[in-house]
């Protein structure tokens, strides 16, 4: 039998509400972690997954308390242990790799000190041995020149480097169990793939058990042997990773997997209705009842138990899981997007646009000299047709949001023209744009918590554009607001609510409704789904698609998520360091030949499928500024030719599938190497 290293038994963790009720956020969790295995715990925000991981270290956050159950490690219950004993286990037997390493490294202590501290606490090495070990650890997590890194402060490292330091620090005590709490969330796509690869290597190399907590099934699929799916504080499904990903027998997991956009499939993913209930809302019955397609009366009255199904080697918390087994041949039926609306009718045109964040010096401003020869965004030429969805894709620092802001007039362009509706030139000064041009272009932001005024009701929020552009008031205004709410599938009783009383998905719907209130021609979407949970994201994407078809709106859709872009866009523009690398119809951009950067990006995408492994083509170095001359991607390009790439700006060339690639390597050459 495999050795069990941690046993969680009937664990319930909760908090006391203001009215004094005990509300549980973890309910009756029982599971075992075996030696050498990697367990993925997946769930949406608020599912209790991080609380569970922390409890496995005997740590319960302030405000929470253990209601029942135990976490047994080495035959003693961590939750009942004295702090002094826990100090000998934490970092030595069980180590944690936190979500946001940038905030989890103490800002006033050097990297070297923080690793040395862990070594001092958990090993018997002397000073010089510890110094060597520190370098060795930094080397192991593949940080360049460990000696200099050790002398740095955390804020001097990039996000990926900070995360690697956190991994190195966790390995210092040579732990038997590693807990990883969303270790790659917030990192760029390529960095994420690299960190995951490192973690996989470490798991094999050291043989430690790992518990990998994430909301991202793509990441979970790459690392886990076994998967635990959590929903509303309960385990709803637990079993071997492959079986769960290939044949999910719980309706939630089934829906979740279907709602994730995939690179391999064009079109929009299926959406799941509603959102996860708040802790304490479900008194009896199955917590997934409201959103379940297979629900019956008994599901509302009785809570299903976690039941072990031996033929599947899986535990499932559902009365009707057998129905899902029967459904296994059901192929992914994606909603076909209606592409008829796209007329070859230009609505927005960007010519030679460049944008600079550098402030002009006073003297240069007077002399009207252009000082910044290397602006943040440069040489952007894009035509956007009426009714199409153009996606701007790239990692952080690619300038995609910058371009969006300058189209909206929020950032001044340094050079170039933005033309709207063929002949109307949009001023780069927001104040000089006329009302009808302002109305024609609307924005939807990433985070609805920030884009909706917390002190306004939904009614007041939606009234603003209606009053401003159409001068509506009274009954007319109210009627319009109700119509708008219906368009985004919210009832009229939402009018009197404040944003804090809405769920994330509902808030984003209000933001969508506000944009559509202006009856715009173009809507600029800035990472509109990245703050949302996966199951909610699909619903918002579907809504955007439906509205676009109804109103013939044009979208410019900025995202770092290539799979989401694949799902919603007609055309894709790939950006690196503020320069265009490739642009073309989305189905073609996702095929080879591609620009080497597109190739790197596509290779790093994590699919929720254990059979599709990411391909790591280039290093994940972070470049602070675009190069002065030559190709923008020269610093990281795996196919770099030499001086030509460093000195000459590459030409545009049209691939045989219609996408334009800006590269010195010929299309034929790229095709040969990439396929």
């Amino acid at each position: 039998m495999e050795e069990i290293i941690q046993k969680v038994k009937n664990l319930s963790v909760g908090f006391k509400s203001q009215k004094g009720h005990e509300i549980s956020i973890l309910k009756n969790i029982t599971t075992n972690i075996k030696k050498g295995e990697t367990v993925g715990i997946v769930g949406e925000s608020g599912s209790g997954k991080s609380t569970l991981a922390l409890a496995m270290m005997g740590y319960v956050k302030q405000g929470l308390f253990t209601m029942d159950g135990e976490c047994i490690f080495n035959s003693s219950d961590l939750l009942k242990m004295e702090n002094r004993e826990l100090e000998k286990i934490r970092g030595r037997k069980i180590a944690m790799i936190p979500q946001n390493a940038g905030q989890s490294l103490t800002p006033n202590l050097k990297i070297g000190y923080q690793i040395d501290e862990a070594l001092k606490l958990h090993t018997k090495l002397n000073k010089s041995e510890r110094d060597n070990k520190t370098s060795e650890l930094l080397n192991k997590v593949r940080l360049p020149s460990p000696e200099t890194i050790a002398l740095r402060y955390p804020h001097e490292l990039s996000g990926g480097q900070q995360q690697r330091v956190a991994v190195g620090m966790a390995l210092a005590g040579n732990p038997d169990l590693l807990l990883l709490d969303e270790p790659t969330t917030g990192l760029d796509v390529t960095t994420q793939a690299h960190v995951l690869e490192l973690l996989n290597f470490i798991a094999k190399d050291t043989g430690t058990s790992m518990v990998y907590v994430s909301h991202d099934l793509g990441a979970i699929a790459q690392v886990s042997d076994r998967i635990i799916v959590m929903y509303s504080g309960e385990i709803v499904l637990e079993g071997p990773a492959r079986d769960i990903l290939k044949q999910p027998v719980h309706p939630y997991t089934y829906g979740l997997l279907k709602s994730i956009p995939k690179l391999s499939l064009a079109g929009l993913p299926d959406s799941m209705p509603g959102s996860q209930p708040q802790p304490g809302m479900i008194q009896k019955g199955c917590s997934f009842y409201d959103r379940c397609n297979f629900a019956e009366d008994k599901c509302k009255k009785n809570s299903p138990n976690l039941e072990y199904v031996s033929e599947l080697k899986t535990s499932v918390r559902c009365f009707n899981y057998k129905k899902l087994i029967e459904k296994k041949n059901d192929k992914n039926t994606k909603i076909k997007r209606n592409e008829k609306n796209i007329k070859i009718n230009e609505i927005l045109n960007l010519t030679d646009v460049s944008i600079s964040y550098a402030k002009q010096k006073f003297l240069d401003q007077i002399l009207n000299k252009i000082t910044d020869t290397n602006p943040t965004v440069k040489d952007i030429n894009i035509n956007i047709n009426k009714g199409e969805t153009l996606a701007l894709v790239g990692e952080s620092g690619s300038g995609k949001s910058t371009i969006l802001k300058s189209i909206a007039g929020l950032l001044r362009t340094k050079e170039g023209k933005i033309k709207f509706d063929k002949d109307k030139i949009l001023s780069n000064d927001l104040k000089k744009r006329n009302s009808s041009n302002l109305r024609a272009i609307q924005l939807i932001f990433q985070n609805p918590d920030e884009s909706l005024n917390p002190n306004h009701t939904v009614e007041e929020i939606l009234a603003q554009p209606l009053k401003l552009y159409f001068g509506l008031s009274g009954e007319e205004l109210k009627k319009n607001i109700i119509e708008l709410l219906e368009k985004v599938r919210l009832g009229k009783f939402y009018m009197t609510r404040y944003p804090r009383q809405l769920s994330g998905g509902e808030k984003q719907r209000v933001a969508v409704a506000r944009a559509f209130a202006a009856k715009p021609d173009i809507i600029l979407c800035d990472e509109v789904t990245s703050a949302l949970d996966v199951s909610v994201q699909a619903a918002v994407l579907n809504l955007l698609q439906k509205l676009k078809e109804d109103f013939g709106t044009t979208y410019i859709f900025v995202s770092h998520d290539l799979a989401v872009v694949r799902a919603i866009s007609d055309r894709v523009a790939v950006l690196y360091q503020g320069r265009l690398c490739e642009i073309g119809p989305s189905k073609n951009v996702y095929q080879f030949p591609s620009h080497p950067y597109t190739e790197v990006l596509l290779g790093a995408v994590l699919e929720p499928d254990p059979d599709i492994k990411p391909k790591l083509v280039a290093e994940d170095v972070v470049e602070e500024r675009p190069p002065e001359k030559g190709c923008c991607f020269q610093g990281r390009c795996p196919r770099i030719l030499g001086d030509k790439c460093k000195n000459e700006t590459p030409p545009w060339q049209i691939g045989d599938n219609g996408n334009a690639i800006r590269c010195h390597i010929s299309v034929e050459e790229l095709k040969k190497n990439q396929i």
Binding site: L430, F445, S451
Partner: protein, 297 residues
Amino acid sequence: MEINKISEFKKKSIFFKISEVLVTMASKPSGFIGLSILVFHILLAFVSPYLAPYDFKAIDPSLMLQAPSSEYWFGTDSLGRDVFTRTIMGGRTALTITFFGSLIALLWGGLLGIFCGLVGGKIDDVVMRIVDAFLSIPWILAMLLIVSLLGTSTEVLIPALGFFYGKGIVRVARAATHDVIAKDFIISARARGHSNLSIIWNEIIPNVRDAILVEGAMRWSWMLLGFSSLSFLGFGVSPPTPDWGLMISNARGLMSFAYWAVIAPIVGLSSLIIGINLTADAFAKALGIDRSTKAPV
């Protein structure tokens, strides 16, 4: 969230919001004590002229420095005036002047702060430099100078106090505006093309209001402290008007044998300041603002 209870989400009227905040404040013991003391003092200020058993300015040398008795509950002072009468009336001037002073401070400080936070750049720099310079003159020196040159009338004291205690509010309002202005909902309103005035009124003020009000409440207690210090130094209310600061100052020299004449106004003033302070604290907590990180400048 339960969506059937529509009534629960009716748009709340301003009175409802105020009563909601008051209930939250009173639900904690410290907030309850603070509120009760404050309410007690305010009521007392209104009714004390009718409650007073004696004339506050009636001097009677034959009754000098009488110890507390059933006739003179808190004894009499060095001029033979009833200390009880003067104590219950001693907060009226201070409360009125500091209340209106705080309102003035709130108004000019809040508006200037929002303005600076909004425009930023050079104008903001210059204004903040000047505010900093004012902050670096000790308030007591500045107040004493103004009062000694312009006199101690209410028309001088209220604006002068309001001016000097508004400086701090400028900083708070400016910082709060800075925080809000970077938020997407402001950017969204700008991108839609709303006018600056409409952005200030609809988007900024509702979001900085709480921070400014809390700061104002806090200023009130400090202003009371400052005002009574002025009175104590002889630059506040002119005699024979009863005022705690002045009463303490007058009775101080004789306290070795008539401590009651000092103790009564001390209790009056201390309780009022503590009451306002606890209330401001509870107010801040009810609105979700941490006020303990701020310096008392």
